[in-house]
Amino acid sequence: MSALKIKKGATSHSAYNLRPTFSDVEERHTLAVLVENEPGVLARVIGLFSGRGYNIDSLTVAEVDHTGHLSRITIVTSGTPQVIEQIKAQLGRIVTVHDVHDLTVEGASVERELAMFKVSGTGDKRVEALRLADIFRARVVDSTLESFIFEITGAPDKIDAFADLMRPLGLSDVARTGVAALSRGE
């Protein structure tokens, strides 16, 4: 057996660590996926991401064409360029997926998200929260003597920034819808 020149017990030769060597710089992409609105379609898309180890940073879904039974899934994902290409190709393989658009590379696009923040506090903090909300054009949709719920729409980073400001002022609960996005122009 010595002719084989494999160290006995050299278990590092795993059959399964053969990842390809493409660029490893991660990018963030927003994908718009037009799907048939059939039961299970969301499970197919999510199962693809979990089964193949892709990231989902945000996902939204709703029917957009009632007569055509089409829903639009907006997915924000991150990965190396090769992984992003794979994600698009794999999505395209799903039989009930009609179209996959990578809004990040297909020209300019607009991204919006809606969020609600519950901020509890009294005194100066409460006043400051209201003042900042005004600057961010957040609306008060509920208030008690000790709390507000703000509603804010905007690009995800604007919402992140608002969340950062609210945290020291008594932020207690957050609900975000995830990103909806459309390409600009025609």
Partner: protein, 574 residues
Amino acid sequence: MIVQALIDQGVDTVFGYPGGAVLPIYDEVFQQNAIRHILVRHEQGAVHAAEGYARSTGKPGVVIVTSGPGATNAVTGLTDALMDSIPIIVLTGQVPTFMIGSDAFQEADTVGITRPCTKHNWLVKETDALSGVLHEAFHVATQGRPGPVLVDIPKDVQFATGTYMPPKPSVSHYQPKVKGDMEEITELVAAMEKAKKPVFYTGGGVINSGPAASQLLRELVKATGFPITSTLMGLGSYPASGQNWLGMLGMHGLYQANMAMHDCDLLINIGARFDDRITGRIDAFSPKSTKAHIDIDPSSINKVIKTDIPIVGDVGHVLEDILKVWKSRGRKTNSEAVAKWWQQIEEWKAIDCLKFTQTGKVIKPQHALVRLEELTRKHDRYICTEVGQHQMWAAQYLGFEDPNRWMTSGGLGTMGYGFPASIGVQMAHPDALVINVAGEASWLMNMQEMGTAVQYRLPVKQFILNNERLGMVRQWQELLHGERYSQSWSEALPDFVKLAEAFGAKGIICSDPDDLDDAIMEMITHDGPVIFDCLVEKHENCFPMIPSGKAHNEMLLGEAQTQGVIDSKGSVLV
């Protein structure tokens, strides 16, 4: 209605197993003669049999099983068919719609369980939708990259009457692209004209594309004079006796094939997917070549290996266009350089990496296959295999002259595949010689199908290379785990001859090399199923071998041959 849809789709054979949730379908099956139903002994067997049927005919295989355990037993077969792109339609019974979600008896979330192991699946909740879904299921299973689909049909939907719609030219939005991009094709032809060291690397896609694709491939190889190798799944698309054949490539591929892949300057992948059993270490894979990749599935391209010339399309269509363009540009190749390339390849071939010596009184598994090849070559022959060393030896030592004659579990590596697959093949080709080259351990995994073989008088030959070991596991333990043979013995094996007789079949045992030919002849000539217990050398290793994580040129040639090779080839070998 279900049986009508199957008939209208041209189905003549289904494999299945009844149960409460499919009784209405079985009642329909009972009252007709157009479709033959084969009662298997386990639902996994039904799916593998359907795979064997599909792979040996090019037609989709059809399976009917009941809800719950019937469906879960089908999961391995579905996954196997998905990995190897085999068109299968599985119909499962389901509890009635009004009981779904109540943990009813034999309820399972079948579409949920099988979503990741089917190309697509459906739960049909209205009888009126049933025929449309069934026709769509055939369309999806067979179009584009083929694969398994599943239709889950609740019992009340089976009982109710609805309107039947006959199949019509597809209205499906699912219409995969079959024609390749002409610009890319022209770029490939230009690369072919210049290439000094080209190689065709072909795969199961050629076979899935149909017999015409194999024919076009042969024409292209002959016209260009380029060498050709194939994956395990692609064997037979180019004949093993063909002049330009290098043999199989990959982990247990032939020396000349792997060396050609490593040193080539133009690699033309036709319907293969750069599986890790093929590429070995990715960053050392074919480092000097321009890579073209023809595949009907866009997700295969750039998944593992960066491709320079990607061509999305059906192999047959693309090959036709390649030939057309190449001819119209004057049938050019760099013939002088290619001749030199062949000289190099001949040197590699001269190493004769499959050489072995049969000495003594113990049968070498390779010898058993050489004899099997010799004695069955001229027959109308179909070969199935199980999974393990015997599978790799079968791929190495048997010659495949035509497509659709080689049924093996490639992507999933499913022990227990071969025997039921051989039943499916024999159903499709009643007069052919169907042999399953098996390991004793794999064979036991679906041995219950002996009942099926005997019931339907299917003369399948179970050629078991019995090394009393989980041989492939043992080999890895020897090479990579310090010879610690953990759980890789086949203990308490049955007496295979008695086992065959217990089922009413014939059993043959052979342990002496001198008796082998006679015993094989006895197997071939017996008109009925045979279990052939071929007792072989217990510690034989399968070579050549690219240890995982190694490059093609770091191949191990085996105990006996390593010394001579190191002398002539110097440093290329580990």
